[in-house]
Symmetry: C2
Subunit: 355 residues, 2 copies
């Protein structure tokens, strides 16, 4: 009765007192911009739904069509298009402002409404007796950007979330090109915000992230590389717009001071692009997917992986300690456990201890 | 890089469109009241923290000390002591009433406060500008019962949550006796509500659940069996007090009409006691622990396991279809996926399909 099955490795253990109570498994891939797998564990070829980790690629058509100039987009606005934002007042204000630039109204957004991810903002809505709107949806910036892209590309905006809409086909094509895989190997389902969600191998998504921070590729138009650089610059300048107050992605980018960008996706996905440093520095994309879809160990796993790769300076690790070694509190605020992440990659490839 | 490790089997798959997006693994044990393992998958000897699945055992000292008569306890009140309740108005009222019976005040509860698990009740608190109290804590009924137990047993109530408090030692001893294991093989940490949480082998917890619905055991005092029967009767009569509105445990017991009791625990624990039916019927305890600690697939896994065991009538399966085959909705309310549970136990022991 001790049946066991093949499984990806445990990337994080949740302790209660001295014993492991729960564990999170996952697969992780590290690649360069040429599609070379540098490191990995679990199933690096696992097809995963990119979820919100696709957002920087979903913002590309607008910028490629000259949208930055046409709509006078700021860093904050471009960052918001790549965001899973908290629905904080400033996020909502900017999303509304983006719509206004193209003469759109909130009703044009096809993302649906949900309560702000930022808890204090959610409570404030309830306190005022108001309902969440489409603008509070963590994807409202992305959707607003897609409406502007329709305008810039002279495409009908109605039905912009349909997989067959020309804008969606263009996004899929751009993602495939950046991931260095044929378009046909990306399958599509429906995301939480009603947009097509893209399913591609983990290592291919890691390649696409490496490419976000790499220069112009052979045979590539200069505009493609310029747009990637523009997106990364916006995210680095306004990490507060990419996630929000008290969120790992924001604090992680702030602490990195230009070293990396990070983007979470639902169901336990996280993607990092490590920028090349110095003349011989190399771009690197790191993506993992927690098998169970949990967000709980995501931040700690991200930092553990970067530590293993030798790109996480000690002072940054210390500044992000609350994310790297989260504690489990009970209802009285007492510390009753902790989460420990470890990723079996890197120089040794060995895992610290078994389970 | 395709490293795999030993792991319990997948018990539930989360689909997005036609593909698996996430999966939940777990171990499951089915035992009778004598400690015989009837079925299982994964690691049936896995030590697990019982979490709130220990609640019926935590209510035993009070009843064994004659608390029902002394404090004139109703079915609803006894059920609330075994509850992870929703913090709905009636739960809060009853918890306060329980305290009153012993002359206790909310300040005597050492469980800490958290927002009601029942979302509408939580929203209502925010709307009124009120903060959650200890009475809203899903464990307030259990804690109130422990205070009454201190009084009935003439024990000091201060520090009743300390592992060394005589009441806690008594609970541990009762759990060990019901689980048919030495007391020393139960280790203790701190639960979310500040009480000692008990760690014991999965199959032993299944035995304890089987015993909840079994008769008097050889060499056992009749009061022990009577108290078990009383607890089960209260849970069966007032399933609305054991969890709450829209909760699986409540609907599961209602639909079962006396066939079983069910109790969830945090971190992916669920326990069921199947009552003996007919003259030759047998008591059965079923407990599982999801490795990742997720509550998401818990209801579906419970029903899938009972189906495999052949004790889930089709009409009940149909009545609980929303729990058995949950759908994944997006922010627009569109169905974008589903959860499918399957448990590799039962007559064939084979699993339907691979991953």
């Amino acid at each position: 009765m001790g049946a066991v099955t093949k499984a990806p490795p445990v990337l994080a253990r949740v302790y209660r007192g001295p014993h492991v109570e729960s564990a999170h498994r996952g697969s992780l891939a590290v690649a360069d911009e040429k599609g070379r797998l540098l490191q990995g564990c679990g199933d690096t070829a696992l097809p995963v739904y990119a979820r919100s980790a696709a957002k920087p690629f979903q913002a590309m058509p607008l910028l490629l069509a000259g949208g930055e100039k046409r709509f006078r987009l700021s860093d904050a606005e471009i960052a918001l298009m790549c965001a899973s934002h908290g629905g904080e007042p400033e996020h909502v204000r900017l999303a509304r402002e983006l719509l206004r630039r193209g003469g759109f109204r909130p009703e044009d957004l096809e993302c649906g409404a949900h309560a702000p991810m930022h808890e204090a903002s959610a409570r404030e809505l309830v306190r005022r007796g108001e309902k969440p709107t489409v603008l509070h949806n963590n994807c409202s910036g992305k959707h607003a950007g897609l409406l502007l892209a329709c305008q810039a590309l002279e495409l009908p905006h109605a039905g912009y979330t349909d997989p067959g809409h020309p804008l969606q086909r263009r996004i899929r094509s751009l993602l495939a090109r950046n991931a260095d895989i044929p378009e046909s190997s990306i399958t599509v389902a429906v995301d939480g915000c009603n947009l097509p969600v893209f399913r591609l191998p983990l290592s291919a998504l890691a390649t696409a992230y490496a490419r976000l921070v790499a220069g112009r590729q052979p045979g590539e138009e200069s505009s493609a590389a310029a747009v990637r650089a523009r997106l990364v610059r916006a995210m680095l300048k306004r990490p507060d717009m990419v996630a929000g107050t008290g969120r790992f992605t924001t604090d992680f980018m702030k602490a990195g001071r230009g070293r990396w960008i990070g983007k979470e996706g639902a169901e336990g996905v996280y993607a990092v692009a490590v920028l090349p440093r110095g003349k011989k520095g190399k771009a690197m994309g790191l993506v993992f997917k927690l098998e169970d879809g949990s967000a709980r160990p995501r931040d700690a796993v991200t930092l553990a992986a970067l530590e293993r790769l030798g790109v996480l300076p000690l002072e940054i690790r210390r500044a992000l300690a609350a994310y790297a070694e989260p504690v489990v509190l009970n209802a009285r605020g007492a510390e009753v456990g902790r989460i420990e992440a470890d990723v079996p990659i890197g120089a040794t490839g060995r895992r610290r201890g078994g389970r």
